[in-house]
């Protein structure tokens, strides 16, 4: 356990030493909210204000970026440069590495979610989530689903470039088709159906819902789908964990 915590805190520390990734991780979502805000800031969307609609969904998008870029692509890089291989002949086990990176991802995500919420409160009169306990549980469930999901998908990549390509593809598809960036009711029926096949759709529904409308108990389907993804991808990620790309 101490090994896992040590790994997790070191990885977190090292993340903050890389200024560029810090910028992209923390500032980019805030800039996007600001950009969207300058376009739709005053609109009323299905009875929700701009911030009530988009801050929760961008927090959802942040889970995707954290899991694919902060976790998946970095771990693929470690695999490629032999960082993981070096652990292979020590008593460190694969679950410790996955757990450490999951922990690091959770810390980084929490900071960026907090930043987004504060920004929304300051600029667009956002209020704290209506069912704050439900929202917190929703966030944990979403991370449990997405972190191993991304770790598994990127571990299929041969190198960092293809991991980045997989990550960008997943992010962009989910960003535009799951209702995170653009409300789904403006989309054709077919896209509304496709959206339901994307995991981010359930995250966005869950976060938006618990933030504004109802407690988590009303979202059994979303929680069920996400927990299903969590279990399946945890199994896949640990089953197919590779120490090196040979």
């Amino acid at each position: 356990m101490t090994v896992m915590m040590k790994l997790a805190s070191l990885e977190t520390k090292m993340f903050f030493r890389d200024r560029i990734s810090v910028f992209w991780t923390f500032l980019f979502p805030v800039l996007m909210i600001w950009l969207f805000g300058s376009m739709f800031g005053d609109s009323d969307l299905n009875g929700l204000s701009f911030a009530e609609m988009f801050v929760p969904s961008w927090i959802g998008v942040n889970i995707v970026t954290t899991s694919f870029f902060t976790l998946g692509t970095v771990l693929t890089g470690y695999r490629e440069t032999g960082v993981l291989r070096r652990y292979q002949s020590t008593p460190v086990q694969s679950w410790m590495i996955l757990a450490a990176h999951t922990f690091q991802g959770a810390v980084i995500f929490a900071i960026s979610a907090l930043l987004l919420m504060i920004f929304g409160m300051m600029m667009y009169d956002l209020t704290l989530p209506a069912y704050i306990g439900s929202t917190l549980i929703a966030l944990v469930v979403s991370m449990l689903a997405f972190f191993p999901f991304a770790l598994f998908l990127t571990s299929l990549a041969k190198n960092t470039q293809s991991a980045a390509a997989i990550s960008s593809l997943c992010l962009n598809v989910m960003l535009f088709l799951s209702g995170a960036a653009f409300p789904l009711q403006f989309m054709p029926d077919i896209i509304q159906t496709v959206a339901k096949a994307l995991p981010l759709y359930y995250v966005v529904e869950l976060l938006r819902g618990t933030w504004n409308t109802a407690p988590i108990t009303e979202y059994g389907l979303e929680v069920g789908v996400l927990l299903g993804i969590a279990v399946l991808s945890t199994v896949l990620a640990s089953r197919f964990f590779r120490w090196s790309d040979q």
Binding site: L10, E11, M14, D18, R85, S89, P91
Partner: protein, 302 residues
């Protein structure tokens, strides 16, 4: 001497390529054992099977009484490995790496290694800012933190400049004196001669020779005379007493002889009497490099 590694009829193939072909040897406690051969000879595959991270197709391995790929967790507590061309996280500081890897083991000799490897001055440096030599020192330290009973080094001096390489050799010797058994692979023959107590020569996945470097060199005729001359002829040289073989390339002769002193005498005498200029006359002691070429040539003619 007690054997800490016993390898019997070890084989491994990738697809249709037989990377390691029925190799047998054993490593004694406390020695530096070298696995040498050209690139692609099967050295890394062999050492990785000893480390337990690659599963053999056939044959048996015992390392410290364990079957490596089956008892990897137990084995990893007792061995140390420096892989070929691996890195640690770019932004990790030297002291953080030492600290992290120390936490993997019940006991560690961190402070001793920092002193031994002179890592004091680099403790606060990020890994990405270290030179190749310092990177190798650090990864050597990471592999030896827990006082492993056996240390595996895959090409320990690859990419190092001559000075850093000598420093690395010194460190490996110190580790040996501290009681560690060391198994290393290399394709630098000089490294094998300077470092190893015994060497296994691998080529094409097969074990070609196994002995001390001195014995290997004595066993095979690799001592020769070399000189340059524009006037001496092959026919004359081959007719001299004790001469076994003459190679000539660009007026540079390589003369293999059963009695170097006698052959040298005849050459000097003849050149003196006929006023022939000899340049760069040398008694060459063969190196493992020559031995290697010797083996390859034998292979091709066979």
């Amino acid at each position: 001497m007690e054997d800490v590694i016993i390898v019997d009829q070890l084989s491994k193939s990738y697809g249709s390529t037989q990377a390691v072909n029925s190799i047998s040897f054993s490593v004694r406690k406390g020695e530096i054992f070298g696995i040498i051969g050209p690139n692609g000879a099967g050295k890394t595959t062999t050492i990785e099977m000893l480390e337990g991270i690659r599963k053999p197709d056939g044959g048996a391995i015992s390392v410290l009484g364990l079957t490596p790929h089956k008892q990897l967790r137990e084995l990893n507590k007792r061995i140390g490995v420096q892989f070929q061309a691996t890195a640690i996280q770019k932004k990790m500081k030297v002291k953080e790496a030492l600290d992290l890897f120390s936490s993997f083991y019940k006991t560690n000799q961190k402070d001793h290694l920092i002193a031994l490897l002179g890592l004091h001055e680099k403790l606060n440096a990020n890994f990405e800012d270290l030179s190749g030599g310092w990177k190798q020192r650090l990864t050597l330290a990471l592999a030896t933190l827990h006082k492993p009973e056996i240390l595996f080094l895959d090409e320990p001096s690859m990419g190092l400049d001559p000075h850093a390489r000598r420093e690395m050799w010194k460190l490996i010797h110190v580790l040996k004196e501290e009681g560690c058994t060391i198994v290393l692979t290399t394709h630098y023959m000089e490294e094998a001669e300077k470092l190893c107590d015994r060497v296994a020569m691998i080529y094409g996945g097969r074990l070609k020779a196994l002995d001390t470097p001195e014995n290997l060199l004595n066993e095979i005729p690799v001592h020769y005379l070399s000189f340059e001359s524009k006037e001496l002829e092959y026919d004359f040289l081959i007719s001299l007493p004790s001469v076994v073989n003459v190679d000539v390339e660009n007026h540079t002769f390589k003369l293999l002889s059963d009695d170097q002193q006698e052959t040298a005498y005849y050459i000097f005498k003849y050149c003196h009497e006929n006023n022939i200029l000899l340049r760069n006359f040398r008694f060459e002691k063969g190196s493992l490099d020559d031995l290697f070429v010797h083996f390859l040539e034998k292979e091709q003619t066979a």
